[in-house]
């Protein structure tokens, strides 16, 4: 479905609409177009027949009653035309300038011929240069165009037959330019200007007031003046020689007419050249440039080409070696120079010398330039689609469009493509594109982009291009070509191409590359085109239309000639019919959709969408039946040989071979589906940048499809790229059968993917998604646990410890059972009680143990005695640091010492850090008779409190109060004059705190009354004289009493009872040890046995 634009409001409408959806303008009014094929009445605004798809462009031109006037108007409104970017073909290479040059050769040959202003007769006369009518090679072969037209129909394909049938029609009625034939530079402003003029004329005709008529006449005159100015400029340009001074003057005065001036200059130059030496002046080469610069710097063959009217039959090997050597020096390392040497063809292949001429003429123009000065190396660039889109082409977009519309073969397109590829050195890249000199120059540009993220240097591209050089020479033997192919394969293998598009590389490898210059030669050689002198054209549009018709005529002629020369070398035949190129371009074309094109245009601020749409429609890709046979894409008439393009008759009838808009009926549905899927695939690849998309001009030719876009293509590309692993670039046979098989495989793969997708299920039934258990995502990789050295050691130790543990705890053999053990404990306990009671009940006189349990005194106990005795009469600080639990033992010690102090007259100042000690102190102070004592009470803070007490004892702090409690004067005096410190404690920390916190601060001695277990702990302090002595336990206190104090007992401890308890306990321990020793196993040893 295509779109049409309302001529009244410009609204976009579907071509099936009969009226505008915005302004209700009736599209069916006016001159409807009747299809010449099916007689279907079509809308006047559409370009193709809705029924049969015939191109109605020519029909519309014919049916337009005001076609000539329109053309005139278009020429008028063309006005100051913008100067397209031109490129100068110089021996130094191809340079680009934006309208600042007037060098010939900036335009295509056909346009040069038009501008030269030759009449038909002149062309015919010039054609005599080639011997006869027809293209160059046809002339050389002695075949005239009329002869080619008389070829038997059996030898021609069907589409050529159709072309031939319509050829007469075209001759009868020349084509008239139409709106859609206009170039893009005829933008909306020009069209608007034309419409404005028409409106004014209508207003005048409608009887408007005189003032308005005058204004309208003025406007018309103004527009007409512009038109006249254009025409005058063109005429002046065609009649007067164009010099640099004139060019500069014109540039200063009218820059907008520069390209027209250039046209005129070239035409005049051609005329002058023709008048002087009668050479073929249709070449864009400036004679002066050729004789000056080119003659000096270009290779010999080029001089022969430009200077000599008589083309040599052969080119000497020395000449070829010369330019190949130059190429070798600059571009490529030629292993075998003979690979580039052309040999003269034999009588059967020479075709009366025409191929030789053709070859010599077909030598690419850039070749001479490149041999002199190679392209400057361009730094490698990563070419991606995004970069291409970001390329700054705003300034050149209109010029590019102009070039594309005027002649798609114009190398300006490649310049733009180079811009899109974001190559810094555009000229170098352009040269590279031309070096390859393939018809589809985009392939060269595609190559770097196919690599996507891979860097493709210009040097690589040069290698690719140069590798195809021998193939440019049709007379190169096939064997030599194969050698060069091998070189190319080697070079191309170094370039990583996405496997998704191997056809590109395969095509470049397998198929010969055809220089496009031979197309120029063909166009020059033919003389059947009825060119009209420039003066005869009423406008530039008419001129352009005529030129287009001439191109169509060339296409048909050369196609016929190509069929006629069936015995040409295979390489030429392949070159003439580049099936690989057709296949390639088909796929490339299919990848572009109009939505993407429109988006691109909108991004590039293309104002005239109508022109874009018309261009797209004009270049709509279709396949005719004949083209399908040849597998040629009709949309690339610009890049395929001209003879494949539409003939004059078809152009007149609107049935040109390159504008067939609908798929032929003989294309099966399966094939269309395959093509469509293949199209999707490559669309996605292009969107992802895997396939070259820098040839933006191709996008202008794409058919718009709804629901498609770069974004969708990008998504597809991601999938396809993931599914397309990189494959080695091995030359693969690209036969049509193989290609179809590949497409079928692709179709199956896509069908399988569709099957794998979840089915939507019947309508009205709940989706199973809600009940499906979602797949669990794999956990992230667990960090590797690293065992440190310390951990290893700990593990080893733990193993040792655990291994030492018994596995099974078995009852010890002979062990007392759980029921017997408590009883044994009770028995032992009761025996102990009885023995103690017996000790108490036995009279002392009958004590059997008398003398046996008499304690002895040790050194520390005597030190205590002496210390207490030395402190007689002086206050003694006594610390009661024990609880009632230990009162049974420490009370006897305390009572013994307090009794001694009382006898010595030493007052006692009691203090305690244990809350229960206050009760013990109170009890003991009351228990000793005649003891003067002061109870200071509780001393909190442990070590801190003792530190504070030490400061008081040393006089560093006041001792009037101790922790808030006021002391009486006697207590204060006792603290200031105390002579001994007695520590009664059962706690290690208590005696240590006294030793550590108070001992170092005071000069007084410290003695201790401790329980027996503390004896080993305080022994070091006794040995270091930090403690003068200790009375460890009740037994020591008893001995202290009996030996020193000469008293039997204090506080009720009877030595006989205690002695019985000791003996009984010792007996139990001894018996138990003997018992277990007699059994030979202890609980420990039995545990080890269990462990074993």
């Amino acid at each position: 479905m295509s779109m049409i634009f309302c001529p009244q409001c410009g609204t976009e409408n579907v071509d099936t609409n009969r009226e505008c959806r915005a302004c209700a303008f009736d599209f069916m009014t006016g001159s409807n177009l009747v299809c010449p094929i099916c007689q279907f009445e079509n809308n006047a605004l559409i370009d193709q027949c809705k029924q049969c798809g015939t191109d109605l462009t020519a029909v519309s031109a014919v049916s337009d009653p005001d076609g000539k006037d329109s053309a005139t108007d278009l020429a008028r409104i063309a006005g100051p035309l913008p100067a397209p970017p031109t490129r100068r073909f110089t021996p130094e290479g191809i340079t680009e300038s934006s309208g600042e040059t007037d060098e010939p050769g900036d335009f295509d040959d056909w346009l040069d011929e038009v501008i030269s202003g030759k009449s038909d007769d002149e062309f015919r006369g010039d054609s005599a240069l080639f011997g006869d009518e027809g293209p160059v090679w046809a002339v050389g072969s002695g075949l005239a165009l009329s002869d080619t037209m008389e070829l038997e129909e059996e030898s021609l394909p069907d589409w050529l037959k159709n072309l031939k049938e319509t050829d007469d029609v075209k001759e009868e009625e020349p084509a008239t330019p139409t709106k859609r034939k206009l170039a893009s530079w005829l933008d909306e402003s020009k069209l608007t200007q034309l419409e404005k003029k028409r409106d004014l004329e209508k207003e005048i005709a409608g009887g408007e007031p005189s003032d308005q008529k005058n204004d309208s006449h003025k406007k018309i005159d103004q527009i007409s003046g512009d038109e006249k100015q254009v025409k005058d400029t063109l005429q002046a340009a065609t009649t007067a020689p164009f010099s640099e001074q004139d060019q500069e003057a014109d540039i200063d005065s009218q820059q907008s007419d520069e390209w027209l001036v250039e046209l005129a200059a070239m035409g005049s130059s051609a005329d002058s050249g023709d008048a002087e030496d009668g050479e073929d002046t249709r070449f864009v080469w400036d004679e002066s440039a050729l004789t000056s610069d080119v003659s000096e710097e270009a290779p010999g063959w080029l001089r022969e080409l430009t200077e000599s009217e008589d083309w040599p039959d052969t080119i000497s090997e020395s000449v070829i070696e010369e330019w190949t050597r130059k190429i070798d020096d600059d571009l490529i390392e030629v292993k075998d120079p003979k690979a580039f040497v052309t040999r003269p063809l034999g009588p059967t292949r020479e075709l009366d010398g025409v191929p030789e001429r053709l070859v010599s003429r077909a030598l690419p123009e850039w070749l001479g330039d490149k041999s002199e000065e190679p392209a400057a190396p361009v730094p490698a660039e990563k070419i991606t689609v995004e970069e291409a889109e970001l390329a700054d082409i705003e300034e050149e977009e209109e010029l590019t469009d102009l070039a594309e519309l005027a002649d798609i073969e114009d190398r300006e397109a490649f310049l733009d493509l180079a811009d899109l590829a974001d190559i810094e050195d555009e000229e170098a890249f352009l040269d590279l594109a031309e070096m390859s000199d393939v018809e589809d120059k985009d392939e060269v540009l595609d190559l770097p982009e196919q690599q996507d993220d891979e860097e493709l240097t210009i040097e690589d591209t040069q290698e690719i291009a140069i590798s195809g050089l021998p193939e440019l020479r049709p007379e190169v033997e096939y064997q030599e070509i194969e050698e060069v192919k091998a070189v190319y394969v080697k070079d191309s293998a170094e370039i990583e191409m996405p496997s998704a598009e191997p056809e590109l590389a395969e095509a470049l490898v397998e198929q010969p590359v055809i220089p496009d210059d031979w197309l120029d030669d063909l166009a020059e050689a033919e003389d059947i085109i009825e060119y009209t002198a420039l003066e005869s054209f009423s406008s530039i549009d008419e001129l352009l239309v005529e030129d287009r018709v001439a191109e169509d005529r060339d296409l048909s002629d050369q196609g016929a000639d190509a069929q006629e020369i069936g015995e040409r070398p295979t390489i030429e035949a392949d070159s003439e019919v580049p099936t690989w190129l057709a296949r390639l371009t088909n796929k490339l074309l299919d990848t572009f959709d109009n939505e993407f094109v429109n988006e691109w245009f909108s991004r590039e601020k293309v104002e005239d969408k109508q022109a874009v749409e018309s261009i797209q429609d004009e270049m709509e890709p279709t396949k005719s039946e004949a083209e399908q046979e040849l597998d040629i894409d009709p949309f690339y008439g610009e890049i395929i040989p001209d003879w494949l393009r539409q003939t004059e008759a078809e152009a007149e009838n609107g049935q040109s071979g390159d504008t067939l808009s609908e798929t032929p009926a003989d294309v099966s549905f399966e094939e269309q589906e395959i093509i469509q899927k293949d199209k999707d695939k490559y669309s996605a690849l292009i969107a992802a940048g895997a396939v070259a998309s820098s040839d933006e001009w191709l996008t202008l030719l794409e058919k718009k499809e709804d629901g498609e876009g770069p974004k969708a293509d990008a998504e597809k590309a991601e999938v396809i790229l993931e599914e397309s692993p990189t494959q080695p670039e091995v030359p693969v046979e690209t036969s049509p059968e193989a290609f179809e098989e590949e497409l079928v495989e692709l179709q199956y793969e896509m069908a399988e993917e569709e099957i794998e997708e979840e089915l939507p299920g019947p309508i009205g039934i709940a989706s199973t998604d809600e009940y499906l258990i979602p797949e669990k995502e794999a956990a992230d990789s667990v960090d590797i646990f690293v065992m440190t050295r310390e951990q290893r050691q700990q593990v080893a130790l733990l193993k040792r410890l655990t291994s030492a543990e018994p596995r099974v705890v078995r009852p010890v053999r002979g062990q007392i059972s759980a029921t017997i053990a408590p009883n044994m404990r009770i028995i032992i306990g009761l025996l102990l009680l009885l023995l103690i009671l017996a000790g108490w009940l036995i009279p002392t006189s009958l004590d059997p143990l008398e003398g046996f349990i008499q304690p002895s005194l040790v050194g520390s106990e005597r030190e205590v005695y002496e210390a207490v005795q030395s402190a007689a009469g002086k206050p003694v600080l006594v610390a009661f640091e024990y609880t009632p639990a230990m009162a049974g033992e420490l009370d006897s010690v305390a009572a013994t010492l307090l009794q001694q102090m009382a006898e010595n007259g030493s007052p006692v100042v009691a203090v305690t850090q244990v809350a229960a000690g206050t009760a013990m102190a109170h009890k003991m102070l009351e228990a000793v008779e005649d003891l003067e004592s002061y109870d200071l009470g509780f001393l909190p803070g442990e070590a801190i409190g003792l530190r504070r007490l030490a400061l008081c004892l040393t006089g560093e702090a006041s001792c009037e109060t101790i922790f808030g409690q006021p002391l009486d004067l006697e207590a204060v005096e006792a603290l200031n004059n105390f002579a001994l410190i007695l520590i009664l404690t059962s706690d290690r920390d208590a005696i240590v705190n006294w030793i550590e916190q108070v001992g170092p601060s005071v000069d007084q001695e410290l003695i201790g009354g401790i329980i027996q277990p503390l004896q080993p702990i305080v022994a070091p302090y006794v040995n270091s004289d930090q403690l003068v002595g200790t009375i460890p336990g009740a037994q020591s206190a008893l001995a202290y009493q009996q030996l020193l104090l000469e008293v039997d007992s204090i506080n009720g401890i009877k030595p006989s009872a205690l002695a019985l308890a000791y003996w009984f306990t010792a007996a139990v321990l001894i018996v138990g040890s003997i018992y277990y020793a007699a059994r030979g196993n202890s609980p420990r040893s039995e545990g080890k046995e269990a462990a074993k």
Partner: protein
């Protein structure tokens, strides 16, 4: 003589004897009577300590501050009182953090004082003690080292990645183990002797008390 007095003493002696037997019942096994006696002992001790603290610490401080609140020397006591109150908040989980400052001050000060006392009162005097030199000192040092070696559990990895423990430490550890055994045996013997003394004292206490009561009752 009042008859109730010896009866009262007898009741007290019987109660004390019962509690003593409750504790002594542990020789059979852990039983509720033992637990009652232990809980009663702990409770009475804690209560007695609280009374002592209130009576011996809080009342003197508060009475001193209340007597003359504006005195600078008395105001200083507000600092420890405040810290003590904050320390009581440790019992409330949500406000326990408030008492951290009191705990910090208490622990910090105690550690500092304890460290100073250990250095000045134990380390230095024991190092320069007259009795620590000579043969006894060397023996004591060796035994101390051997005792410490018994608690040396470190090992090293061999080249074959095996855990290796120095074999020469085994005899040293054995000596240390013997030293520890003897030290613990001495402590145990002391505890056993103390226990027998306590038991003998308790039995003697009850024998004498009952004799006195019975004599009082008879007379």
């Amino acid at each position: 003589m009042n008859l109730l007095e010896p009866i009262g003493e007898l009741g007290g002696l019987l109660l004390g004897l019962a509690l003593t037997l409750f504790v002594f019942s542990y020789i059979y096994k852990d039983n509720p009577l033992y637990r009652v006696a232990v809980h009663l002992l702990v409770g009475v001790s804690a209560g007695f300590a609280a009374v002592v603290l209130v009576n011996e610490v809080i009342f003197p401080f508060s009475g001193r501050i209340l007597s003359d609140p504006l005195r600078l020397g008395n105001i200083i006591y507000l600092i420890p009182i405040t810290l003590s109150v904050l320390l009581l908040l440790k019992a409330i989980p949500n406000l326990s953090w408030v008492g951290n400052s009191s705990m910090a001050a208490l622990i910090g000060t105690g550690a500092a004082v304890g460290l100073l006392g250990a250095v000045v009162g134990t380390l230095i005097p024991q190092t320069f003690s007259r009795t620590s030199g000579g043969l006894i000192g060397i023996i004591g040092a060796l035994l101390t080292i051997s005792t410490l070696a018994y608690f040396y559990f470190s090992s090293h990895l061999s080249k074959s990645r095996n855990i290796m423990i120095s074999r020469w430490l085994d005899p040293v550890r054995l000596i240390g183990r013997a030293v520890i055994t003897m030290a613990l045996a001495g402590v145990f013997a002391g505890l056993l002797a103390t226990s027998l003394v306590l038991l003998t004292e308790r039995i003697g206490f009850f024998v004498n008390a009952f004799q006195d009561v019975f004599e009082s009752l008879l007379t």
